[in-house]
Point group: C2
Chain length 208, copies 2
């Protein structure tokens, strides 16, 4: 937030905070490899090769292969959480904020679907401590969405019999975008975001 040019989520320049340069190149290579083949099917030689380095170079910047996944998961989740909270904290009715939250959250999962896939589907490869940390971040996501829905219900904007279940379904819908996006093609992240925002407003019974 130091300059006015930075936009929320840094969607154009991810990993900008990772230094030095070689460490960032390795991390980007790992994201690509993990997203393509999965964590366990990816070798350290493959990661180093994509970054144009020898296999041993990886261990100068990261202690283990798991630390790479841990770093990716933490940064990725923090970016997604930031996107969500920015939308949730904006001004407007619950209807407007829920639509904006879904739109931007989905746009992130579609645009950064390679990062999102790693973050969402390789969680089990982490050790107990690292996994617990990531799960805690994820719970803050859930709480953010649930609060908007609860406010909408309290304000009479929404008609939701089961708030917890509906929150779960909304987040599930958004997250699963990372799985199928680009497999189908022909839709931009913006289009998917707009479609999903509309669908979610229908799910909570918001009047249009």
């Amino acid at each position: 937030m130091s300059t006015a040019e930075e936009t929320a989520g840094d969607e154009a320049q991810p990993w900008g905070e990772v230094t030095p340069d070689a460490a960032r190149r390795l991390l980007v290579a790992a994201v690509e490899a993990f997203a393509e083949r999965g964590y366990h099917a990816t070798t350290t030689r493959d990661i180093a090769g994509r970054a144009g380095m020898s296999p041993a170079a990886l261990y100068i910047h990261y202690r283990t292969k798991e630390e790479l996944l841990h770093r990716i998961s933490r940064i990725g989740h923090e970016k997604a959480l930031e996107v969500l909270r920015t939308a949730a904290g904006s001004e407007g009715t619950a209807t407007e904020r829920l639509a904006e939250a879904v739109r931007s959250f989905v746009r992130w999962h579609a645009g950064q679907h390679t990062v999102a896939r790693v973050v969402q589907y390789e969680l089990d490869a982490l050790g107990p401590d690292a996994r617990a940390e990531i799960v805690a971040l994820r719970r803050r996501n859930d709480a953010t969405v649930r609060e908007i829905i609860e406010e909408g219900v309290a304000a009479g904007e929404f008609d939701v019999p089961d708030v917890r279940g509906t929150t779960l379904a909304v987040l599930s819908l958004c997250i699963d975008v990372a799985r199928w996006f680009n497999a189908a093609g022909a839709r931009t992240p913006d289009e998917v975001g707009a479609l999903y925002a509309d669908l979610v407003l229908r799910m909570v019974g918001a009047q249009k």
Copy 2:
């Protein structure tokens, strides 16, 4: 369909068609292991161990570890497809059939979430030929749901601006149940199915 006692989908007795007994035990063990740790993180020794056999016994019934995954994926997808098509082919309005399709499809993904997880998330571990076969099965799922929605729109029951996108979202929502189910706990497959059927009817703008 030889006896009246068999129910659609065989939810109580899956893998009943797999013989001989040792082959079925290995397959069940593989499903558990793949669902817990993922395909690549599972060793053939682990699978054989769970089935109470030596590592070499696996290769009497299956040529490779990948053939195990292929068999699981094919049978699992066929079961899910059968559940969907049974609901889609029943009598009633498009609204009733869509609700029943979502209810039973979600119930299957929740109840058989260990199978579903393997089937949905380990697809990339298959070779090109096997993957193409599974993807074809999946397209029949998409078509089944899309047809119900199209019929509902034609009959004036639904209000859906983007049929393809909404179909994608509905299926995405159902499939992702396999990822989070049992992680949260406290909800039965029937309850999740009922909740999701309601949410999907809202998504397509069906009058209640």
